[in-house]
């Protein structure tokens, strides 16, 4: 195996050394319960509040608008189910979202549909973008919530969040965004962008897994998902995971400090990779090429099945992912790729390469060297490819 390249940073990122070092003392020395009054408890309380300030600052929020959660999924569930239940008291039982949200959002919406809520799933079109005018047209008298992700986790497209925020504000509708893929990678300011609730997850920006945060604009009513003790000002119970919270804040601070430098460097690498892979015949890029996350490459190769592609890459030391049904164990290919209009057979052959600041130009060289022969080999074994080349099978 020549080289090891981890390029699945949208799935999760390695914890940085600085983050791990920041976490350790909370396991060994300051292990006290931060709600306790004595020394080892107080020693854990201050860093907890400092972490809250850091997270708030990175989002343009106030510290008392930040609540710590166990990750992005909890945040999405809390925001969507909470606001929906609260608004339904006023008879508002309509939710607007998009067709290609993360399952934490989609399945929360589906749970609400079973309770009698009505959900509008906005089209994301071929480029993977929600159209603000379509969103505005979907708003009704009884719309309780708009929930649109900041950036898509598979194809990396960045939604027109400020425009959506302005529309929601104009119509007095609460706006939640799942910003799990965006936080730490693009500039976010919840006040300027009129975001009412935002969920994030630490492990997407070199923080630990199992920790996240939610921003809830002060004044917005969003009943608890997890009731109990008085932690998080009574809005999220559970002994605080101080080590992970501190780790997250260090990771986020680091990411936000370097947003511009990383974005510039990564988008250059991304574009070089895309251009190189587009030389492979019958390949295509999924999602808008410009309005996308700096580190996101998502492509399809006709006649190729995604799982065998990623297993082959793994054998060469390259970690990437595929929206193929075969990887997920479900029979349907990625709902994201179907939402942007890809036919099943092509959606089956998708490849997602997601870079972080830890990747290098050499990584790109290596992928560009290794990938084309793998495609060739798999195609030579593929009965489908034969038909495609013979023109018996027509693709988009």
């Amino acid at each position: 195996m020549g080289r090891f390249v981890y390029a699945d940073n949208a799935a999760t990122t390695p914890v940085s050394k600085a983050v791990l070092e920041a976490m350790e003392p909370f396991y060994t020395q300051y292990y006290g319960n931060p709600s306790s009054l004595y020394s080892v408890g107080r020693a854990a309380k201050k860093p907890l509040e400092l972490a809250r300030e850091k997270v708030a600052q990175c989002l343009g929020a106030k510290p008392n608008e930040i609540y710590f959660t166990s990750g992005g999924s909890e945040g999405d569930n809390w925001a969507i189910k909470g606001v929906a239940h609260e608004q339904s008291k006023k008879g508002k039982k309509h939710i607007i979202t998009s067709k290609f949200e993360h399952h934490a959002v989609l399945h929360s919406c589906e749970a609400l549909e079973r309770e009698g809520f009505e959900v509008t799933y906005l089209d994301v079109h071929e480029n993977g973008l929600v159209r603000p005018e379509e969103l505005e047209a979907a708003i009704r008298e009884d719309t309780a919530l708009v929930t649109i992700m900041y950036a898509n986790n598979e194809i990396g497209t960045i939604q027109p969040i400020p425009e959506i925020g302005a529309i929601c504000k104009k119509h007095g509708v609460i706006f939640h965004t799942d910003a799990v893929q965006a936080v730490g990678h693009v500039h976010i300011n919840v006040k300027e962008q009129n975001i009412d609730i935002l969920s994030l997850s630490a492990h997407k920006f070199h923080g630990p897994k199992g920790i996240g945060a939610i921003y809830i604009r002060s004044g917005i009513r969003c009943p608890n998902l997890i009731d109990g003790g008085a932690q998080e000002r009574g809005r999220r119970a559970g002994t605080e995971n101080v080590a992970s919270i501190v780790g997250m804040s260090v990771a986020l601070e680091e990411a936000c400090k370097n947003i511009d430098a990383n974005a510039q460097r990564l988008s250059k690498m991304r574009d070089r990779l895309i251009d190189g892979l587009l030389k492979i015949e019958r390949s295509r890029v999924n999602g808008d090429r410009v309005k996308r996350l700096p580190g996101n490459v998502n492509m399809c190769f006709e006649g190729i099945e995604g799982e065998s592609l990623l297993l082959s890459l793994d054998l060469q030391g390259i970690c990437v992912s595929s929206g193929s049904a075969c990887t997920s164990g479900s029979l349907d290919p990625s709902h994201v790729l179907l939402a942007i209009g890809l036919p099943h057979e092509i959606a089956h052959g998708s490849l997602r390469i997601t870079l972080s600041d830890q990747n290098t130009e050499e990584d790109i060289d290596y992928i560009l060297e290794v990938l084309p022969p793998i495609i060739e080999r798999l195609r030579s074994m593929s009965p489908l490819w034969e038909e495609i080349v013979k023109g018996q099978k027509k693709f988009a």
Binding site: G303, E305, E307, S308, L311, S312, L315, S324, A325, C326, T327, G329, S330, L331, P333, H344, E345, H348, S380, M381, S382, P383, L384, W385, E386
Partner: protein, 143 residues
Amino acid sequence: MAYSEKVMDHFANPRNVGEIPDADGVGEVGNPKCGDIMRMYIKVDGDVITDVKFKTFGCGAAIATSSMATELIKGKKIEDALKLTNKAVMEALDGLPPVKVHCSVLAEQAIKSAVADYYKKKGIDPAPIVGDIPECESCACEL
């Protein structure tokens, strides 16, 4: 979901890939739902399968089961090849993750349909000999 070393070996170095231009029987099976396609070519001498090749569009398990299945029937009598079940192929691969069981069904189907094609070409009704070609249960039930 993790694959056994055997599966990875057969995936990385598949045996008997390719086609037989003057095959005595060709079977193509596929599942429109998950989009996988497997094509199997056989060469027959008397009642013995002397050569076999395959082409597969599918996941790691689909490719590995194709490869293993061809190994298991090469040089065997037709009647023995027809007895090969997807379970036997899976066992030979040291197992498959539960969600991948259906991929091995494709291999069993491909062999049977190649043999059926062989008999058809000879003008013999394959139905009584080959019997039912199994349906993939996974296609019906939810995973």
